[in-house]
């Protein structure tokens, strides 16, 4: 695009992209190119006229463009792009909302971001973001309540609840992150199971690990080096050796030397 696009050009391009995205079978490549054009247009407009940022219409367009970008990146499964869009949207969502009315997709997007952090095990960021959300929304808004309940269930270890929560997602976009989350907690459950059971029959192992077929179970068992006995149809878990009785010579030496040095310093 040559020259600086005006606000009307930007919003008309935005409307076209929106229509394309909402159509039954959107062409992802064309949407992608249009999005990048929009982004370049935003930057050019801001560079040419610093005051344009204060124009509410421009800000509304900018926010809508960013939100559309976030939705699109979920549809194509591009997680880093989703993170970038959300980071840019943060200024619009918290603190001063820049005088704009609350966006309809704000809470779904915030909820999606929370879920993304859960699936990547970034618990500290999860809690920091949680602090910034209004308390009333935390308790009533279904988009936010869902990730919060999930996090509590994960902390307690109620993985069955997580599995059941798959059916209760507020929007279909949540399913994308739920699948990633299931893979994460499958590993968690595996490590729990190793420590707590001495052996498990096949059928039980399948349900415990949320598998749907025997082959997946066997492959998983092989990856984790569990001993499988097809005759009895059981999986036996290796017992962890008791290392606590071993003499930890090095640490004891270090500690005693420190004591000696400090004691010598006492006048």
């Amino acid at each position: 695009m040559a020259g600086v696009p005006s606000a009307q050009e930007l919003s008309s391009l935005y409307d076209r992209t929106r229509a394309e995205l909402d159509s039954p079978r959107p062409n992802h490549n064309s949407v992608k190119t249009q999005l990048s054009q929009l982004k370049v247009g935003l930057v050019k407009a801001a560079l040419s006229n610093a005051q344009v940022e204060l124009d509410p219409a421009f800000r509304l367009t900018k926010r809508s463009i960013l939100e559309m970008g976030a939705e699109f990146s979920i549809k194509t499964g591009d997680i880093p792009a989703f993170e970038r869009y959300i980071a840019q949207l943060e200024t619009f969502y918290y603190e001063s909302k820049h005088g704009l009315a609350e966006s309809k997709v704000m809470y779904p997007l915030v909820g999606l971001n929370l879920l993304r952090m859960l699936s990547e095990n970034q618990i500290a960021d999860f809690h920091t973001t949680l602090e910034r959300i209004d308390l009333a929304q935390l308790q009533s808004n279904p988009y936010i309540v869902h990730p919060v309940k999930l996090e509590q269930a994960l902390m307690e270890g109620g993985y069955k609840k997580v599995w059941q929560a798959r059916a209760e997602v507020p929007t279909p976009e949540y399913l994308f992150f739920m699948d990633i989350l299931m893979a994460t907690i499958r590993n968690e459950v595996a490590s729990c199971v190793e420590k707590s059971y001495s052996s498990l029959p096949f059928a039980d192992a399948k349900t415990v690990l949320f598998f749907t077929s025997m082959d997946e179970l066997l492959k998983f068992a092989q990856e984790h080096q569990w001993s499988v006995s097809p005759s009895e149809k059981r999986i036996t878990f290796p017992s962890t050796a008791e290392n606590t009785r071993m003499f930890q010579g090095e640490s004891i030496m270090k500690q005693t030397l420190t004591y000696a040095r400090e004691l010598e310093r006492i006048v």
Partner: protein, 486 residues
């Protein structure tokens, strides 16, 4: 009638005025002596008297002091400050006869008093405007002896904005102040600005920004204790939100120790202890009951006491009950979200007590006791607890029960060793710190020096006399005199 009343009032006022004026004059003298000797403790002495002065400040007394000092000042910014101060008081600014040079320290001190006056009389707008001018001028002056006064000026600057609800606007000036303070090596100002910035961020719940600020900047280690206590408290709160519980506990404990234990600090102690109790609960330790019984903390910490009880017993329904009952209180203390995280600890405590009490218990019974939803839930939760090391047990899936492992001798492991190690390092650290902070009595030291000075002077005179005598021909009398001296 009114005129005589007015006259009578004026006479009374002047008597008080005289007293206040004499106090102010004494403080000004302290400050000037401090500048002359380049020693900081004179400034501190003057600043300490502010507390008693605060109650007796009157606008006309202040205006008069300003007028006498505004006559001949070194720089334009100082004169500006004094002018603004006088205008904000609503008094006319009259430049008196040229008595003496007004040092910036004295000027800032007077303006600080004006700030206090505004704060006490709830004139926030005027105070905010004056503080703006003051901070700008103070940062421009860049004199190290201004350090303690500037730090207090900045504190009241931030306070005015906070009271007016415009705390975010104070941020740019605070950041600039941080830059200047670091460059000029003004330690007390730097400590104060860092603390104020953290408070600013926490007010708006910008925890990651606050954390980044704390990580990138270094808090001066020899800052006064009250600033250090506040800084540690803010650090503890940030770390508690970011799940860094062990660090948070350390910082909060230090904060309680550094803060002076006078009645004036009761509010601070209460706030710090509230967060400390919650961090302890989140770490899985139950705080001691004696903590809740100290008279200062007894009433404010009552909800937290009941919370600790619910966590200790491990009863989820009791926990929910306490949370819903005291919800407003927790909301006010901004800890509600931290308390939501305690649910997991309640269950953990419950599982632990069950595992200790029973050698074998069916999953169904666990489910009933902990008020869980289903047996499968209970199974998962117990498995996770085993993995986390909360309990030592095995699950038998077919028969559906949990079997606790036998309790082995704790002294056989290396746990006592680690516990002893921690305590020994703490005691050694305490010893080293107290050695470092030893002070020697200054008086004798100086007397010795004076004595040494005199001795050197006498010897020099003696040597000179000897030199002079050598040129003199008739030295018999002098020889006798010399022998006498020696």
């Amino acid at each position: 009638m009114s005129s005589t009343e007015n006259a009578a009032m004026e006479v009374e006022a002047t008597a008080e005025q005289k007293q206040a004026e004499s106090h102010l004059a004494r403080n000004v003298k302290f400050l000037e002596r401090g500048i002359a000797a380049a020693e900081v403790h004179y400034t501190h002495r003057a600043l300490r008297t502010i507390f008693s002065l605060r109650k007796r400040l009157q606008s006309d007394v202040l205006a008069e002091m300003i007028a006498t000092h505004a006559s001949k000042s070194n720089s334009q910014s100082v004169a500006d400050c004094l002018q603004h101060a006088a205008e904000s008081l609503g008094q006319k600014h009259v430049v008196g006869p040229a008595t003496k040079v007004c040092e910036p320290e004295v000027c800032l001190f007077l303006c600080l008093l004006v700030q206090l006056y505004h704060l006490d009389h709830n004139e926030h707008e005027r105070g905010a405007k004056l503080s703006d001018v003051l901070v700008g001028a103070a940062l421009g002056l860049q004199r190290r002896t201004l350090d303690p006064i500037v730090s207090r000026v900045i504190f009241y600057y931030s306070r005015f904005f906070e009271v007016a609800g415009r705390l975010a606007d104070a941020r740019p000036m605070l950041l600039k102040a941080l830059q200047t303070a670091t460059l000029m090596n003004m330690k007390e100002t730097k400590a104060m600005v860092l603390t104020l910035l953290l408070r600013n961020f926490l007010n708006y719940k910008l925890y990651d920004q606050a954390e980044r600020l704390a990580a990138k900047s270094s808090f001066p280690t020899d800052a006064p204790n009250n600033l250090l206590a506040r800084y540690l408290y803010y650090m503890g709160r940030i770390e508690a939100v970011q799940l860094n519980y062990s660090q948070a506990q350390m910082h909060l404990l230090e904060a309680t120790r550094k803060a002076p234990s006078t009645p004036a600090t009761a509010g601070f102690q209460q706030t710090v202890h509230k967060i400390y109790v919650i961090v302890e609960l989140l770490m899985g330790n139950i705080p001691e009951r004696s903590l809740f019984r100290t008279p200062v903390l007894k009433k404010p910490l009552q909800p937290y006491f009941e919370l600790a009880q619910a966590v200790r017993v491990g009863d989820l329904s009791q926990f929910q009950d306490v949370v819903s009952r005291y919800q407003d209180q927790f909301l006010k203390d901004q800890v509600l979200i931290l308390i939501q995280r305690l649910r997991h600890n309640v269950i953990k405590a419950g599982i632990r007590s069950i595992s200790v009490a029973y050698s074998r218990i069916s999953l169904r019974d666990i489910c009933l006791k902990l008020h869980l939803d289903s047996e499968e839930d209970a199974e998962y939760i117990v498995a996770k607890a085993i993995r986390d090391g909360v309990i030592d047990a095995t699950i038998d899936h077919e028969k559906g029960f949990v079997k606790s492992a036998e309790v082995h001798n704790v002294y056989g492991t290396s746990d006592p060793q680690h516990a002893f190690d921690k305590r020994i390092t703490f005691c050694l650290g305490l010893y080293n710190e107290s050695v470092k902070s030893m002070r020697y009595p200054g008086g004798d030291h100086r007397k010795e020096l004076a004595y040494a000075d005199e001795a050197i002077k006498r010897e020099r005179e003696l040597a000179q006399e000897i030199e002079n005598e050598e040129y003199d021909s008739d030295s018999d009398a002098m020889d006798d005199a010399m022998d006498e001296d020696l």
